[in-house]
């Protein structure tokens, strides 16, 4: 099953909204990474995470590796490392499993996101 169909399978944009709420709650509760997500503007943060999850599920988006690099550069300055990246991947995986996405598909999504690690961490 392709990633594009995962996006459609879980219900497109509306379902991603639900996924974002679950995912955002997980990262805010995780003291190891919450500082990177805790902001005055929760709506803007919500929109960013929606774009991220849409991308992860293969939905319509136009992120590039360079965008990811530029967007995360300030966080790298603040100490973003592999362990934070790993935590985000785990929370996203758990979110998708909670929503009933197959383990196998979650694994494929994680593999795809691995390809962004270097960009996100500025390497």
């Amino acid at each position: 099953m392709s990633n594009a169909s995962v996006y459609e399978q879980i219900g497109g944009s509306a379902a991603v909204n639900a996924a974002v709420d679950i995912f955002y709650r997980k990262v805010l509760r995780d003291d190891h990474i919450s500082d990177f997500f805790d902001t005055v503007d929760m709506d803007a943060q919500h929109a960013k995470q929606k774009a991220f999850i849409t991308m992860a599920l293969g939905g319509p988006q136009n992120y590039t590796g360079l965008d990811m690099r530029a967007a995360h550069a300030p966080l790298v300055q603040r100490g973003l490392t592999d362990s934070h990246f790993d935590a985000v991947l785990k929370h996203l995986g758990d979110t998708l499993l909670e929503l009933g996405v197959d383990q196998e598909i979650v694994g494929a999504i994680a593999t795809k996101l691995e390809g962004l690690r270097g960009h996100v961490l500025g390497r």
């Binding site: 709420d21 955002y24 709650r25 805010l28 509760r29 929760m42």
Partner: protein
């Protein structure tokens, strides 16, 4: 460098500089208040321009299509030609008919403005007769018979609030622009639990919303929490108590951070009250109004407890820099 064209003059805009900062740097400041993209005091127009999305956040679609934007959060990435908004076409006149002090520094103010169409709980920009001072105020009622209610707290050096709370303002005409904001009752689910939390005059929109909800027949449980630093920040206590007596689905908690506490007022923080007395489920709807810090923390608290972010309407009252 990006150029802004205003009143036929080209002004250079520094990278990351907002239109408002740029105009002020050139001594051409438009009106402004919160400087953070919320109050809509500094709206200007740039017809047919491509504007950053942030520059139009929270504006109604009709305004977006006309190129209306918020100067304080507009950081242009290409040349921009901008205009002042014509007050005559975007505002409604209102006459101040009554000013009723309810504490030493808070007054209920009624404005007769039959041309205004808004929901109780939304906010409007009030434009002072000087034409320069503009401040946002929440609507504490639904404008029955064209009569709208505001709750105004007099701030030290408050150019608008000192004027609005003074009896001399009675009979004067102001202009109202708006409405804006998503703090209002929506009757699509009349069973859902409602949480209304306000600090000080953050009660104004809640007062409007709770009456609107009851008038429309809301029958789910309603918890209204009114908090303040000290009792002088609380008002309408008797009216709130009788609202709870006459409606079995309404509970009211009044609290202050620092005592003394008169009868019916607890010494507690609004967040603790909400934590103890409200079940934050994905069915609930919340309205949070007043102190930006409390609104922000409470929004996060309710979200983490299980509410949907989109069901938490927040209206932080940002005081204009003097």
């Amino acid at each position: 460098m990006v150029q802004i064209f205003y009143q036929n003059k080209p002004l250079s805009c520094a990278p990351e500089e907002s239109v408002l900062d740029c105009l002020e740097r050139h001594n051409l400041a438009p009106r402004s208040s919160c400087r953070s993209g919320i109050c809509q005091s500094c709206t200007m127009a740039a017809p047919n321009a491509s504007l950053p999305a942030k520059a139009q956040q929270g504006l109604k679609d009709a305004w977006k299509q006309q190129g209306i934007f918020l100067a304080c959060v507009c950081r242009p990435t290409e040349d921009l030609t901008i205009f002042d908004l014509d007050d005559a076409t975007t505002t409604t006149p209102g006459t101040i008919t009554q000013i009723e002090p309810v504490t030493d520094d808070i007054a209920r103010v009624w404005i007769q403005a039959p041309g205004l169409a808004a929901h109780a709980g939304q906010y409007v920009q009030v434009i002072h007769p000087d034409g320069e001072t503009v401040r946002p105020y929440s609507l504490a009622n639904g404008g029955r018979d064209g009569l709208w209610e505001l709750h105004v707290r007099r701030l030290p050096q408050g150019r608008m609030s000192a004027w609005l709370t003074n009896q001399k303002a009675k009979g004067q005409t102001v202009l109202l622009r708006g409405p804006a904001g998503d703090c209002f009752y929506d009757n699509s689910n009349q069973q859902r639990p409602l949480l209304l939390v306000g600090t000080s005059t953050g009660l104004a929109p809640l007062w409007g919303i709770v009456h609107d909800a009851l008038a429309q027949g809301h029958h789910g449980p309603i918890l209204l929490v009114h908090g303040a630093l000290e009792t002088r920040g609380l008002y309408l206590g008797k009216a709130l108590a009788s609202l709870a007596v006459s409606h079995e689905n309404v509970r009211v908690v009044r609290c202050v951070l620092r005592g003394p506490t008169p009868e019916g007022v607890q010494e507690s923080d609004v967040r603790a009250i909400v934590e103890q007395q409200f079940s934050a489920t994905s069915q609930a709807k919340a309205f949070l109004c007043g102190s930006p810090d409390i609104v922000k923390r409470l929004r996060k608290q309710l979200f983490l407890a299980g509410m949907n972010l989109s069901d938490i309407a927040a209206d932080p009252f940002i005081v204009a820099p003097q």
